[in-house]
Symmetry: C2
Subunit: 199 residues, 2 copies
Amino acid sequence: MPAEPATGRETVRPGRRRGPTETRPLILKAARELFAEKGFDGVSLRAIARAAGVDPALVHHFFDGKEALFVEAMEFPIDPALLLPRILGGPREEIGERLVRVFLGVWSHPEMRPRLVAIVRSAATSERGAAMLREFMTTALVGRVADALEVPRLHITAAAGQMIGLVMMRYVIGIEPLVNASDEEIVALVGPTIQRYLG
Amino acid sequence: MPAEPATGRETVRPGRRRGPTETRPLILKAARELFAEKGFDGVSLRAIARAAGVDPALVHHFFDGKEALFVEAMEFPIDPALLLPRILGGPREEIGERLVRVFLGVWSHPEMRPRLVAIVRSAATSERGAAMLREFMTTALVGRVADALEVPRLHITAAAGQMIGLVMMRYVIGIEPLVNASDEEIVALVGPTIQRYLG
């Protein structure tokens, strides 16, 4: 941020030392750029600290590890570490229904939906947006679900494709009768698909 | 197109009467704008002719009906009127496999793919792009498939969602192992999903 010209009106001006309100966004910005460029595995917290020009201890102070930093850098409105247990827990024979229901619940939230649409849009249009979502899905979703359920990763990507395509059709393109169908109609229709991939 | 200043070099200059190379794009441009604004059903060939400033007979001369004009205005690289019979014909119990195989075949074509990706991108980012794809899917796909197969439209949109999401994951976001899976692996995995929706 370039310094504003002094107007003579300020009584106190901060010096060059950065406060927390400045440091945190600096770290997030550096993280966003490095993750998009090098992928999740190719970036260390130390490298992010260096790019942000801050002490590595500060990165640890503000963020609870690399994945938490990644999720926040993605501006993903929900932490999958909190969401996935709700899907992965419970009877395995109902995982398809459960996943579709939880997923649609998140998308129907009026504050979440615009942010989720923004993520899909950005992935569809910019290579950086695609890289971020690719990293996010690979790291926070595909790997974790594969470990928990012991199903092939290809199955998980097919399930993720069904869910992403569903919200594209319902919320981005807006095709009837999907727009006006109830969540439970969609759960009944698409749940068995996800069950087949993940059950 | 603004007239170029005369340089004195031309021996023949066309008058104000438009030749076919000028009329056709004018009609397409008007069609694109009207379809995006009012949807397929809300636009007549006569209204397109009026917006383009040409005689309605010329629209009929250049385009084989409203749907053909729509498909061309969409710049969709394949006419679904040609593609759908390959999917809808043949044994009903294999329609899922057949759809996935034909669809992936089109996407794997090196000249088609960038144009298809462009359509998905434009639908994800601009309201006009979304409106065009929405109209296209509703008119050229959902309605036609519903008539041919007598399955509920909601099933068709779920199938379309699976296929759009699959290509988003494979070609736009680029998630492994979907990127490097063979077409036949994907047919075996996703074919039964489509079969369940459309069979």
